[in-house]
């Protein structure tokens, strides 16, 4: 092994500066590739993290469907109560309830809550779920402070009704937004104001429940309002025992359809399907970005292979001469690997600058988050590695050059 001072870094660099077109083009390609790949990985990580967020409910074993009455004698209140009793009585069903909106589904109801009455105070936005006393068991929520709803807390709500129940349950995230200086346990019993000045009391705190809108920055702000709705359509949310979902979904749908011919039962969907539909665009973006990253990396690698192959062919006599002057096969291999390392180094340094620049632009223009700093060194190492792997083939061919080529005159 030759000492480091004998490595040809200086001569290689000086030679590159005298014959720089190919090297500059490859360095630029490495820089652009790194810039795009690192920012793409950042976006992918962000999306993946978003998609992996826990909604707070038992998605794997839950489904929902809606019932819309059309018959003249259709009594919403009676039908809802009868339906829920029948669903809850089915073997395999853990619990069921009526709900006005489905978490992470994209559609729901929001309100503003404030700690002081008056229109001059700005409220904190929250998703509103109208539920009954079965909510904790049906959604598999964890009550971490205060009390759960009792059957006596639940009221019926007409479509035109504007007032609110006296007590609500809110998420830990929402209480921390409302009372940032206090621990969530201490907020139980406090009064909040809805519609500027209508008081509601915090009856309990649940650990987590996501709002219907996954792109919302306050996704975990949610409140449970103890009421059942008498709207034109009722949505039932059902939680089953593990492994019973596929069997119970059509069974519940059929049971409801058979039990009352004066309505339409539709919109049967599992929570897993809802999650899949909600994040479909993110999934598509992940696939597209992954394809772009792989393609770009391959194109860059091929560019390096092409330049290195061209250099090996162009310098065959030079390689032979170096071999004649004492270069071992390892020395020739090291020469091409070092040359590529230098080109890649210029590329990744420029790429690091471009990467940060593009991220700043994306943060300012598209609201993306700041890049994790460690993605830059990881990107540099990756591009270095890709470069070294790409040049390995041509470099190994170069080592096969016979030193006897040095004495050939053509």
């Amino acid at each position: 092994m030759l000492p480091f001072s004998s490595w040809e870094i200086g001569p290689i660099f000086r030679a590159m500066t005298r014959n720089k077109v190919g090297a500059v083009l490859i360095a630029l390609q490495v820089a652009v590739t790194m810039c795009i790949i690192v920012n793409s990985v950042h976006i992918l990580m962000e999306r993946t993290e978003q998609m992996a967020r826990d909604s707070g409910i038992d998605e794997a074993n839950s489904f929902y469907l809606s019932s819309t009455g059309f018959a003249d004698d259709f009594n919403d209140q009676v039908v809802i109560q009868t339906d829920l009793d029948a669903i809850r009585a089915l073997p395999g069903v853990i619990d069921a309830m009526q709900i006005n909106a489905i978490p992470i589904s994209g559609g729901g109801w929001s309100m503003g809550l404030q700690t002081q009455p008056g229109a001059e105070f700005e409220g904190v936005g929250t998703a509103v779920y109208m539920v009954d006393d079965h909510v904790l068991n049906t959604l598999d929520l964890e009550l971490i402070a205060g009390e759960a709803f009792q059957p006596s807390d639940i009221r019926w709500r007409e479509r035109s009704q504007r007032d609110w129940p006296a007590e609500i349950i809110i998420t830990r995230a929402l209480t921390e937004n409302l009372f940032p200086e206090q621990s969530y346990q201490d907020t139980v019993g406090k009064t909040l104001y809805i519609n500027d000045d209508e008081p509601v009391i915090i009856k309990g705190i649940i650990d987590k429940l996501q709002a219907p809108w996954v792109g919302w920055e306050r996704l975990e702000n949610a409140m449970l309002s103890p009421e059942q709705t008498l709207f034109s359509s009722s949505m039932y949310f059902v939680r089953t025992e593990p492994g019973r979902l596929d069997e119970l979904m059509p069974a519940v749908e059929q049971m409801l359809a058979d039990s009352n011919k004066g309505r339409v039962v539709r919109g049967l969907r599992s929570m897993q399907e809802t999650r899949e539909r909600t994040y479909r665009r993110d999934q598509a973006m992940i696939k597209i970005l992954t394809t772009v990253m792989i393609t770009l990396t391959l194109v860059t690698a091929l560019g390096i292979v092409g330049l290195a192959s061209f250099n090996v062919n162009r310098r065959r006599k030079q390689i032979g001469t170096r071999r004649a002057l004492g270069a071992s096969q390892a020395s020739v291999l090291r020469y091409f690997m070092l040359e590529n390392f230098l080109i890649s180094s210029i590329g990744v340094i420029l790429g690091a600058v471009l990467t940060v620049g593009l991220n700043i632009y994306l943060v300012q223009s598209l609201g993306l988050t700041k890049l994790h700093w460690w993605l830059i060194p990881v990107g540099m190492l990756t591009l270095w590695l890709v470069g070294q792997l790409a040049v390995l083939g041509p470099a190994r061919r170069a080592t096969a050059t016979s030193p006897a080529i040095a004495t050939r005159t053509v």
Binding site: S6, W7, R14, A15, K317, L325, G326, A327, S328, Q329
Partner: protein, 243 residues
């Protein structure tokens, strides 16, 4: 210094076998200046390649400076080339993208010298060939004769005991050729053994001994004592091969 006994080199293709060297015998003593002449295709370059460890051979014995080189691996051959042999090529074989300093530096880096030692040797050798003031020039900025002087400086920088020159004046005009030849003679006078392949009889007579190669064998060995071209040309073939 160099001792070849019954060295045979055969080039093989699917259809043809060509004996480039056949029972080639030659002994070169330390400090000698030997020229190798012969018609095209006679095996001069093959001899040079084998002597310089650029090619392997099929049969026979080759001792370089007392070391049998037959079974050396590639790394060992590379190290031996680097430490003991200096090469001078007909086309100079300078690296066009490197300046003169870096060109002369090439074999020194493979030797593993530190940078100050390399610098000392490069400056001394470029001084020796009269190009110390052109160190930062590229080969393309020099004449053919100057380029060959750089190649000689490169060959000498590692202080080899054995210099192999392949038609070193073949691409030079007569004035430059004479200048380069004089440089080689000066180097030989300092004690470096030189074997030079050439087509030029007038250059051949300037050595201490001429080997005439024909059909892959040494067919004539001539001790040069004469000083005129007529005297050189009158020396007859004897078929002897050992000196």
């Amino acid at each position: 210094m160099l001792n070849m006994q019954n060295v045979t080199k055969i080039f093989r293709t699917d259809l043809v076998e060509t004996r480039a060297l056949s029972d080639f015998n030659l002994h070169v003593k330390e400090g000698e200046f030997v020229t190798v002449t012969g018609p095209s295709g006679s095996g001069k370059t093959t001899f040079l390649n084998i002597a310089g460890l650029l090619e392997s051979f099929d049969d026979g014995v080759y001792d370089l400076d007392g070391q049998n080189v037959r079974h050396l691996n590639d790394t060992q051959r590379s190290r031996l080339r680097n430490e003991k042999i200096g090469f001078i090529f007909q086309s100079f074989n300078l690296i066009p993208d490197l300046d003169l300093f870096d060109n002369v530096d090439v074999p020194l880096r493979y030797r593993g010298f530190n940078s100050s030692e390399r610098k000392r040797r490069i400056e001394r050798c470029l001084e020796l060939v009269g190009l110390a003031n052109r160190m930062k020039h590229l080969p393309a900025q020099l004449s053919g004769g100057q380029q060959q002087r750089v190649a000689i400086a490169r060959a000498l920088a590692g202080e080899p005991r054995f210099l192999l020159a392949d038609e070193p004046t073949g691409n030079l005009d007569s004035k430059m050729a004479h200048s380069v030849m004089q440089l080689l003679k000066d180097i030989n006078d300092e004690g470096t053994t030189i074997v030079m392949v050439t087509h030029d009889p007038s250059l051949a007579r300037e050595a201490k001994r001429n080997i005439f190669v024909k059909d892959g064998k040494v067919s004539d060995v001539t001790h040069i004592t004469a000083s005129t071209p007529e005297q050189v040309a009158s020396i007859s073939a004897s078929g002897a091969c050992h000196v």
